[in-house]
Symmetry: C2
Subunit: 109 residues, 2 copies
DNA sequence: TGGTTTTCTTCTATAAATTAGAGGATATCG
DNA sequence: CGATATCCTCTAATTTATAGAAGAAAACCA
């Protein structure tokens, strides 16, 4: 299997992080918060679909809640296969980033 | 600026890691070694060109060496801007991967 | 109750990045 | 010079990412 793409990595990790509360809107908010960048709706939902296709996440329809309004949520959960792929991904990253210097105030003088 | 794409990250880090010995062939070998996967020639050179365009690396033509054969090498070097982008990238990754569980023999039982 | 508001997703067109490898350039060896 | 070795250029095809309009569905409220 190839390496995860950037968006796949970020979205998959977000789903893992959000536990039982991962759906389109929360995933998008979370990613914006972490990265400090703007992400269009499509930048979240398109990779989400692909992760489902690949079997790295499962999805199920949420039920109406007491909160006002809203189409029902589509929740996502990471699969064991998804966890495995993330673990492999991290291994590669650790080797790649090994020894990369820390940025300190000193470096920026 | 957007996040680095996966290939940009991997190639850029390889250039940094290879110091004065980063050119197409060594970068490709290095990435294969680290990831354990096959990478076509184009998967290296196309992102390399883009990194140059973006100002994250510089390039210069190498001179003939004593080793047999060969078109002269095109070397690459990371720029200060490249280092900065990598440092930002790592920040994002650290937050994303924070708390992700270690894989142990125990987990796989 | 029906119009309004809110929350969230679906869909799809366009742009960008990745992948693949044939082909060619250029050097040394014998 | 011919054979061989090393490395790069180029571009077509595929896959991913990006954008946001449109619409679905629930609760609110006059």
């Amino acid at each position: 299997m190839k390496l995860l793409s950037r968006q796949e990595e970020v979205v998959l990790l977000s789903i893992w992080k959000l536990k039982g509360n991962a759906y389109g809107v929360t995933v998008r908010e979370y990613i914006s918060e972490i990265t400090g960048k703007y992400w269009s709706i499509g930048s979240i939902y398109v990779p989400l679909d692909r992760l489902v296709e690949k079997g790295l996440v499962t999805t199920y329809q949420g039920l109406p809640t007491k909160r006002r309004g809203g189409r029902s949520k589509r929740f996502y959960e990471i699969t064991p296969e998804g966890m495995k792929v993330l673990a492999e991904m991290r291994q590669v990253q650790r080797i790649l980033w090994k020894d990369f210097p820390e940025v300190t105030a000193e470096n920026n003088k």
